[in-house]
Amino acid sequence: MRSSETSLTVDGKAIALIGAPNSGKTTLYNWLTGSRFKTVNYPGATVEFSLGKLAPHLGDDSVQVMDTPGTYSLHPKSADEWVTLRALYENPNLEKVDGVIVVVDGTQISRHLPLVMQLRETGFPMMVVITMSDLLRREGVEIDMGYLSQTLACPVLPFDGLLAGGLKEIVAEAKKLQWVKEPIRPKVWPFEIQETKLQESEKIAEKALNQFTEKAQEKLNKIVSTTEKLDRVLLHPIFGIVLFVGIMSALFSSVYWLATPFMDLIDGWFTTANEAVVALAPDALWTDFLANGVVTSFAAFMVFVPQIFILFFGIGLLESTGYLARAATLIDRPFSALGMSGRSFVPLLSGFACAVPAIIATRNIPSTKDRLITSFIVPLMSCSARLPVYALCIAFLFHGDSAWKAGASLAALYLGSVLLGALAAGIVSRFIPRKENSFFMMELPIYRRPKLRVLLRQSWTRTYSYIKRAGPVIFAFAVVIWVGSTFPNYKAQDPYQKLSDSYVGQLGKVIEPVVAPMGVDWRVGVGLISAFAAREVFVSSLAVTFNITDADEESQQQSLLTQMGTAVNSQGEKIFTVSSVIGLMIFFLIALQCMSTVGVQIRESGSWKFAITQLVAFNLAAYVLVVVVVQGLRFLGVP
């Protein structure tokens, strides 16, 4: 039993929800806890489980509920399932759970009962909740709860996820759960026993279904008939792919278009805040720090919050309707050739918007190896922050007079990022050992209408978790970069002089021999360093280092282009030439210059080593390739 000294967060009862994926566990959890829950990471694992107090209208604070990743049995075969088992036996936040609610999908009773039987063998105080009772009622199927309760020797209650019917009774029963004996570890059933247990479950399920309902199985089949009809189109080898491309395009264009006004709004707030801070004491160092260090760095990552929220909402929508599992199935074959699985698809596509939510989205991949490969190559997908740099380089190369060449170059860059991602995945998959079996047995849930309220709250929880996790890391890096680019000559009025004298400027000059083979000088080097804060900073940094004071953005880019055309290095050679600009584009295509990504990667992979390897590998590969290309082009006579 739990001793008071080691109890970390709970004084009263702690009830764990256990159930198969798609059994309705999270819906029950949401109803039980209201909005009072937090997600906790299991130490050393990226998989989360949630812990929450009972919603106020359900009674006192003495009961906490824990949601766990879906599991088919107590013999784990994936990282997620291990978390569920550990959550029961060695939970760091609870020490030990006081009871288990096994969630059973009412339309899948015979398949979900073996988990109930396994749990019963362990000796945990338990009860069973039969979900999807709204669907069952609609088809006129009644399950004999009394018989189930008697046979399984524990309370069995129905639950209606749509209207939360049965919630009060569930809470009342859960509070009554009492220890009878110490729980033991789950037994592994030998093959023959497993067969027997399954036949037993089938018999129990049939009896419970047929007690009050005639032709129960036929009625259950009616529940899934719509799904089967929809799947004939949505999983069709041709239409399925066309619709898939359409649905995904809609999702990702909405990430851009829907988010833009909100991003502008947030940007506006921070600009106002920035100005307000500067106005407090215009020339003081502390206002400069607050405005250009703190406020600017927060603006740089808070501005992504709308995109992240919309992306999570979109993914949540696809997940809750049941489509996401189909999408993963459709794309599984090409992905498995690269050492990943269909589930890697959504995170990679998200990477084109921003690597940060994309890396968080890899949590949905059950296999550790697939998850690591996916989050490793996510930063290669050309995120939206690279677009301003690509646009500047392309405008320089084609002087804006050849729209189709510019368009083709941009398409080539995006295609290039996909091919590089595939190449990188192929390479790293050889270096990451596979610890667990990689089964791709995807259960395709029936199509269901999503619940807006739940979707909105879930998206917000995930978004908030992004802010909370990435925030401190980004803040720390931003402060370092501000200090580095401000001191020691912080009194200089001329921004060029200030930057040139600063530590970052000095560092730029130190690294000049390194960036010189890329065909650029120290000023571009400073741009590359500051791009580590956010890639978009590269353009504004170039503007500062090439001494452009024009504040208006349109003309800033125009005058920057003119300036780039005439800029020369200390030897009097042109800095921006066709070869060096191509080199810069390649550098931005591959290099990982995003502290937010590194920060999130450290948190999510739980490993500095992994994030640093990624950082070094991408930047080294980018550098070597750029040097080869630039020097090669020059050797061939390209300016």
Binding site: K77, S110, F191, E228, P237, T329, L330, I331
Partner: protein, 76 residues
């Protein structure tokens, strides 16, 4: 024959008669509800030779080739 047999076409009903291969995989197939004696229907395949789509009772499942290979079946 196994579930991947080329003679098996969409719409066919098959009965599972046994399992072969990796014991962990066999255990997982059984946990998902695919036990000996049950009847399943082939719904089709995902594109590019992707997972096999099956239905049994009121469950839908996508299985990769290596997994489908483990299930021995006969015409139901």
């Amino acid at each position: 024959m196994n579930l991947l047999d080329s003679k098996i076409k969409p719409g066919h009903s098959l009965e599972i008669v046994g399992f072969s291969g990796d014991p962990a995989l066999r255990e997982r197939l059984i946990e998902m509800g695919l036990r000996i004696g049950i009847t399943l229907t082939i719904l089709g395949r995902a594109p590019f030779g992707g997972p096999l789509l099956i239905r049994f009772k009121n469950s839908f499942l996508a299985l990769r080739n290596e997994e489908a290979l483990c299930a021995q079946v006969k015409q139901a």
